[in-house]
Homo-oligomer: 567 residues x 2
């Protein structure tokens, strides 16, 4: 059996090796247009930053052997063709036509089974000046090496990143954190990570970026990348000119499915991804496809999506290898889990954002929670922030977002949620989740539990949530139809009482003795650090006949993290 | 409605507050025989160690208010009776008889609903001398305060801990780590954490304890705790005398279900726990019970067990509170998840150990895996060790154990497994698990995936596992019917080749050129750091007609961590 694999990174390399392991007698040919193959593309930002000292580190096995052609030949028994472009697939004759880029020579290679792992290509941004010298997209490790060498030569003083998605943010940190360069970050949408977070969590990341000295511009409408003598000098938006000597365009990627399309394989016009079944076969049963170039099922919506993630690509590679070698393996779909380091933060999410859930037609609502990652009595326990997206009618869990310090605590919560989301859990199932506990790691009730409690209490009508934006608006307007009661320690409440005419202090523990001071003809908003005390007081007031009682979601730490004028 | 709660810690305090929040007009009376209530009992080792500076920290809310009687009265609206012993429940008259320990006065208190949250008591060890001065069991926070004061007075130079379960190990660290006391730790079983880990993972913890200077004695058969003038001077086992000026007995706990039994409630003779339904009602529908005093369903075996964990107790408290206030909530059971810090390690597990699984009648087998927690190219990526227990016939996942550096990485993997185990996943479902990835947090394939791959490869007969104990035995015996091939870098292999006559070096990458040197009439054992290379070479040899090829589970790092003479 001759197996030909087009593309020698995550999915391609994995599937080639898996076929060969299961069936050592198979001839496996691994083809790539590049000469650098099988590198950890997700590690590129850490190579640029210097965390990973040399590009070869991204190409090494865990036992420090570089995964080059020789390695794949000797260790894995594969035939490897690098700098080789696959120009056409002839499905009738079961051959591919390749062009050797070094010599220009053309050859036909027959296959019994073919694997398309052509990955993704950067989304084309129709911006004038994108071809100027000094404008980069991260199409390969070569580009990263170029960027790093340019920085090392001292030629970069003002880097500018276009696009605040995962890669854009990681590259922003790479420039700003270790090279201490002042980075400008332009984002078209009104928030960072628009595909991954909601505004209420994204704003924490935005504030953190600004604290770290990043010049973050949201709602950026880029008109042109400006140059002088063919070299980039800055970016002109509708409103402003941002000088730059290096522009990194990180505008997302699209599936590289052209070759498949030309071969007459089914490619989705909606997603641009190659259509595959759950064994990852294309519309031609002898051709498999995996990685960034395919579309997959989103397990929350049931719809097809592209989800260009290295983790999925690797898992898909194994599935393809197993199936080609005569076994049976399936890839059922994705819940869209992500995790990232952003300076001192760990940011993660899974499932749908509130915005996405609404667009998908769910009766989506959300709960916020903040609490220390470790037991609050444990030294150095730091606060983390959580959002749970759920459907109000079915109580189904739709998504989860977490922002915490740069530890593995965020990973722990995302791992738990991404593991159960395919089982379509309800909020009640999160209450029942068993989550190991010891004080150095979490609280007796894990943040997942307490976030689910908030959702459960909302679903059961135990309190009336109000959004912080609305609370702050009323504070700033001094709305006299509203009384905001700060329930914290008098010293904590001092600032708000002094600065906002409709804020009054009543200590949480003393509330039962002060109920007569609270008017029944006003909206009562109860505030504290986490909204736990607010919720309890809301329950007391409700039993005393108060009807207009509101509890802001997630406590005062949320707007404080957003930089809003409350303390 | 008058609700009476017996026991004012995790489950009791939680259920009392939840009832009151849902039904603020209810009269809720919280009763405890102690005067210190609602403390984070799981934090006691960290209080003794000094990590938590003052006992009140364990009793504080996250906003630093001590949860004493006044707090529960003012903030929560509960009536609290401390130093009050409940002597009897009269179910016909729906009253309890209490004795006020300060005055000796007796009173009857009526209830509409009663909650029994009496927790657990230390297992009685029938050892002479257990009543000597200086012998402690951690029955309450008072005991911890006593111990800490004794240490602070300089009266403790030789602490000795009996029992290497979770609390025993945490207390061992508390003594050894921060007070720098030389601790002796005696364990009856041939391994530490006998209820939580298998020998192959426990040995890593044992070695770590010894590296940290702990005098660990396994298989300890204690004859007597020895004293002089009424004060402890040491512990005599069948073999040896261990001097000690403080003995902490941590021999596990049993449910404190006497009161319930006396009241005629159903108490399991097998587990000693109060029998409850999944709404946590006892055999008397007006009486609920939760926390350490009840038995619960083990979701892997379906059998009843006691599982004294603070996390479960808190969740059960909320369930009881909801049900008493007229709602519906259930507690379905446990998968036995735990996590602990042990010096520089994070140790966690969930489900059944291999030993337990075999006792329960499963066709249990296991896979081992070691890999760096973060991407191997990421700086400071440290190795962690994983074990997956599964059923060979059904391929069902039965348990998981993880030992890593003290980060939240172990928590992340335990969280994922404990979240899905109730859904009864197969090994294949772990392959399909979506786990978020970024290089600062993990590899593209998470350790869970790679551990499941090993299990999957075993189940599919892709390689023949062999246990390291057997490999080392053959190395030490110089068994000439066995050829052990060390596949690593020559420098790494040097020690084994030099020290063991049946070890030969062939570099992994070169194996295809050296196959003729490998005899077909011997057992071939392939070794490397993680067994990944060994597995690949086993596949090649199998295709070349070799039949006696073995791959040790988990790679050479496992015995190395056990302190075995391989390098």
């Amino acid at each position: 059996m001759q197996v030909v694999v087009i593309g020698a990174n995550a999915c391609g390399a994995k599937s080639a090796c898996r076929v060969k392991r299961l069936n050592p007698k198979a001839e496996v040919i691994l083809i790539d247009k590049d000469d650098l193959i099988s590198y950890g593309a997700c590690g590129i930002p850490y190579f640029v930053s210097g965390d990973v000292p040399h590009e070869n580190a991204l190409r090494e096995t865990s036992y420090h052997v570089v995964r080059d052609e020789k390695f794949f030949r000797d260790a894995k028994g594969l035939k490897v063709l690098t700098k080789t472009l696959v120009e056409e697939i002839d499905r009738k004759r079961k051959t591919i036509r390749v062009r050797y880029l070094n010599t220009g020579q053309i050859e036909e290679i027959p296959y019994d089974k073919l694997i398309i792992a052509t990955g993704s290509i950067p989304r084309t941004l129709n911006i004038p000046g994108i071809d100027l010298q000094g404008v980069y997209t991260l199409t390969s490790l070569h580009k990263a090496i170029e960027i790093k060498e340019k920085i090392a030569r001292g030629e970069v003083e003002k880097p500018l990143v276009i696009g605040a998605g995962l890669i854009g943010l990681e590259m922003t940190e790479a420039f700003a954190d270790l090279w201490e360069l002042p980075v400008t970050l332009l984002e078209y949408f009104p928030q960072v990570l628009p595909r991954n977070l909601d505004a209420f969590t994204a704003r924490m990341v935005e504030n953190h970026l600004r604290e770290k000295g990043v010049k973050l511009v949201l709602n950026a409408r880029i008109k042109e990348i400006m140059g002088k003598d063919g070299k980039v000098i800055g970016v002109q938006t509708e409103n402003e000119f941002y000088p730059a000597d290096l522009v990194l365009v990180a505008g997302g990627v699209i599936p590289n499915s052209e070759l498949a399309k030309k071969a007459g394989l089914l490619v989705s016009p909606a997603t641009g991804g190659i259509v595959v079944n759950d064994r990852l076969q294309t519309s031609d049963p002898d051709i498999y496809a995996g990685g960034d170039c395919i579309e997959v099922t989103h397990l929350i919506t049931g719809k097809k999506v592209v989800m260009p993630m290295g983790s999925l690509a690797n898992r898909q590679g194994r599935v393809i290898g197993t199936n080609i070698a005569g076994g049976t393996a399936t890839f059922k779909g994705t819940v869209g889990a992500f995790i990232m380091k952003c300076f001192d933060l760990a940011v993660g999410g899974v499932g749908l954002t509130l915005t996405q859930a609404k667009i998908e037609g769910f009766s989506a609502s959300y709960a916020l929670n903040n609490q220390t990652e470790r037991s609050h009595f444990f030294p150095d326990a730091k606060y983390a922030y959580y959002a749970l997206i759920f459907d109000k009618l079915t109580t189904r869990v739709l998504g989860f977002q977490a922002i915490g310090p740069f530890t593995d605590g965020t990973l722990a919560r995302i791992h738990a949620l991404s593991s159960i989301l395919p089982y379509k859990p309800l909020v009640e199932d999160l209450l029942n989740l068993e989550l190991a506990y010891a004080p150095p790691f979490n609280s007796a009730l894990d943040p997942i539990h307490d976030t689910a409690h908030v959702a459960d209490n909302i679903l059961k009508g135990l309190f009336e949530p109000i959004h912080w934006e609305e609370v702050i608006k009323r504070m700033q307007e001094g709305d006299q139809n509203t009384l905001i009661i700060d329930l914290r320690h008098p010293k904590e409440a001092e600032f708000n009482v002094k600065n906002f005419s409709n804020v009054k202090h009543i200590l949480y523990q003393k509330i039962r003795y002060h109920i007569k001071e609270i008017p029944k003809d006003k909206d009562i908003i109860l505030i504290c650090n986490s909204s736990r005390r607010s919720y309890e007081v809301a329950r007391i007031l409700k039993s005393e006949g108060y009807e207009r009682v509101y509890v802001p979601l997630g406590g005062i730490s949320f707007p404080r993290k957003w930089g809003e004028p409350v303390k």
